[in-house]
Amino acid sequence: MSPATAHDEDRVERVLRRAHDDDDAAAAAAARRLTRRIADEGLADVSYAPVDSPFGPLLAAATKRGLVKLAFPEEDVDGVLERLAQRVSPRIVAADAQLDPVRRELDEYFAGRRRGFALPLDWTLVGPFGRRVLGATAEIPYGGVLSYAEVAAEAGSPRGSRAAGNALGRNPIPIVVPCHRVLRSGGALGGYGGGLDRKRFLLELEGAL
């Protein structure tokens, strides 16, 4: 038995450490099989996927209860998912098919063929006051508008139009919960989390402007 030389050590360690390029492709394929299985067996708490829109790809995230988050393209995807991990569940997995109903209804809406969304919603990201404000907002019909003061009154806080504006600005499910239908009392656009150009676009699409 001869003692191991430095040369032998190098050879053994070098071979063991050698880059596994083919294996990394195999690992990616295995990870895709895994995410399909997780989706099929419903093992994730939050599924997410990009969804096309005239504004660019929106990030849609859904729980078993319903759509929980719709993010505009400029929102940082990692940041959105990180907040969902903290506030909903860290069991978050990419799952395209899970978001098909969201994709279908948004496609129909942007094509002018849908006037209301039938998607179930998950309000986990919304506090009690925001829930009342957004609940009142969800009742505004396609093509209609309300003022911030009117929405505040509907939400049971007639003097709370500023707070209602803040709650609308934090709407985690824009477009589907139509916060774009809330304007200033004089008819000015007011604010919009996704930018005023998009608010105007949505109101024109609905024939409200």
Binding site: M1, S2, A4, D8, E9, R11, V12, E13, V15, L16, R17, R18, A19, H20, D21, D22, D23, D24, A26, A27, A28, A30, A31, R33, L34, T35, R37, I38, L43, A44, V46, Y48, D78, L81, E82, L84, A85, Q86, S89, P90, R91, I92, V93, A94
Partner: protein, 162 residues
């Protein structure tokens, strides 16, 4: 704000899938790596919300992978004739997909190591874990992990010398 929950599972999977895959290919072989990979990450997903945000997630998932690899090796041992265990491992390709013929000899020798030595060697050189994490993953003391690693390397060097 310190995070109370671990990061999104998808980010964890993307970050750890390659190292877990390499570990499994190197311990149970390519043919059974996928089953072990699926079992490892499904188990990780089930336990995931209970994981502390400041945990060492790589060592944690490799601990799970190690248990799944042992399960697979035990099942293989039950299927094979007891005396043919090493031959059964040898007959499957064990080692990374790109390994050449002379490397293949070394990888077969890795496959023939006792389970703990094999895991220690693979965790050290394929997963690049420090001794402390190797000990954590295979559930032994750091000293025992060093010893297993040393014994495994000694055997592998003999293969190379011949």
């Amino acid at each position: 704000m310190s995070a109370a929950q671990p990061p999104p599972f998808q980010a964890f999977l993307d970050a750890e899938r390659e190292i877990v895959w390499r570990y499994l290919v190197s311990t149970v072989g390519a043919a059974e790596a996928d089953d072990c990979f699926q079992e490892t990450f499904v188990a990780a997903l089930r336990a995931y919300p209970r994981l502390r945000a400041d945990s060492d997630m790589r060592a944690w998932v490799l601990t799970i992978a190690h248990r799944k690899a042992l399960d697979a090796l035990r099942a293989r041992a039950r299927r094979a004739q007891p005396v043919a265990d090493v031959a059964a491992i040898d007959s499957r390709r064990t080692g990374p997909a790109g390994a050449g013929e002379s490397d293949g000899e070394l990888w077969r020798a890795v496959g023939a190591l006792p389970a703990r030595q094999r895991s220690a060697v693979v965790l050290r050189y394929v997963a690049d874990l420090p001794h402390r994490d190797i000990a954590g993953a295979i559930g032994c003391s750091e000293e025992a992990a060093r010893r297993s690693l040393h014994e495994g390397l000694t055997k592998l060097r003999k293969v190379v010398e011949v």
